[in-house]
């Protein structure tokens, strides 16, 4: 069965079904992270004076700053991979998508060193309320990075990108949709970084 309105816009919404779909999904993601951000505010208000600042000061700001720049760069290469397809340059697409995957991997490696660094110092999610919400928020965010990498990896590898030769417009839209998700993951980190590391 052919999925309707994948490359042409549906007359009543003015959108392709895939684009409306991803935005509804992202709206649900806003609520998922919103609930946890709300929990963060709640716990911070109820915590003893200076408790969040004390535990927050144990986090590694330089590492998180580099990771922020890495994620922003990955958003940039992601949009370049889509723009390359728009310009019908498949080789450039593969290069930029590869770079996006590389940046995502660098993010995970840095995050791995951050986590294990904490564990070596005997700091676990159970150590304090702050660490509990820190590991929950960054852990959920990390799962989103891994999820994005699986999808992007599929579109990068030959068996996933062969659609370019048969249905180029549909493939380009797929990359745009994957990009919308990826930018959202970047956007969540933009808020996580200051509230966990800097405040």
């Amino acid at each position: 069965m052919q999925i309707p309105y994948i490359t042409e816009e549906r007359p009543d919404t003015g959108l392709t079904n895939s684009k409306l779909g991803i935005w509804v999904f992202l709206a649900s993601e806003i609520m998922l992270f919103g609930g946890l951000f709300s929990a963060y505010v709640f716990l911070r208000i109820a915590a003893p004076e200076g408790d969040f600042a004390y535990w927050g000061s144990k986090l590694n700001i330089p590492m998180a700053t580099i990771n922020t720049l890495v994620l922003i760069s990955s958003s940039m290469t992601m949009i370049m991979s889509w723009a390359s397809l728009k310009m019908k340059d498949f080789e450039k697409y593969k290069m930029y998508m590869g770079l996006t995957l590389l940046f995502a991997s660098i993010f995970l490696v840095i995050k791995y060193f951050e986590y294990t660094g904490k564990f070596h110092h005997g700091i676990y999610p159970s150590s304090s309320t702050f660490m509990g919400i820190y590991f929950t928020l960054t852990g959920l965010h990390m799962l989103h990075i891994i999820g994005g990498m699986i999808v992007m990896g599929y579109f990068w590898l030959p068996f996933g990108n062969k659609m370019w030769t048969t249905e180029p417009e549909r493939f380009t839209n797929r990359i745009e949709i994957a990009g919308l998700y990826w930018h959202f993951v970047d956007l969540v980190w933009i808020f996580l970084f200051p509230i966990l590391y800097l405040l």
Partner: protein, 101 residues
């Protein structure tokens, strides 16, 4: 979007690069201001303002929200309203708590 010619896309890429530069500068700025000796209320205000500007740049340009269809804008306005409710719940608790003690 399929009627974009190469020149049009080149123009977009310049915008993306500018946004990328702005995001990098704002990241360093938010780290910089976190070392300023200000009250915690001011620090929260500064950090959230910079984060909101960065988020708007990502949503507006990378996610094309500025030129996106109204359907999506309304969907997000509705979501944002419920998000705000989420954010206000702890505040309501706090008001209640303060009055009792």
């Amino acid at each position: 979007m399929s009627d974009h010619d190469n020149g049009h896309i080149q123009e977009h890429i310049r915008v993306y690069l500018t946004v990328f530069g702005a995001l990098a500068v704002l990241t360093l700025l938010t780290v910089g201001v976190s070392y300023l000796n200000v009250s915690s209320t001011e620090a929260i205000f500064l950090a959230l303002t910079i984060a909101t500007i960065k988020a708007s740049l990502v949503a507006g340009y990378f996610m094309h929200l500025i030129t996106e269809k109204q359907t999506i804008v309304w969907l997000l306005i509705l979501t944002f309203f419920f998000f705000l409710v989420c954010m206000f719940l702890p505040m309501i608790y706090d008001f209640d708590h303060t009055r009792l003690s």
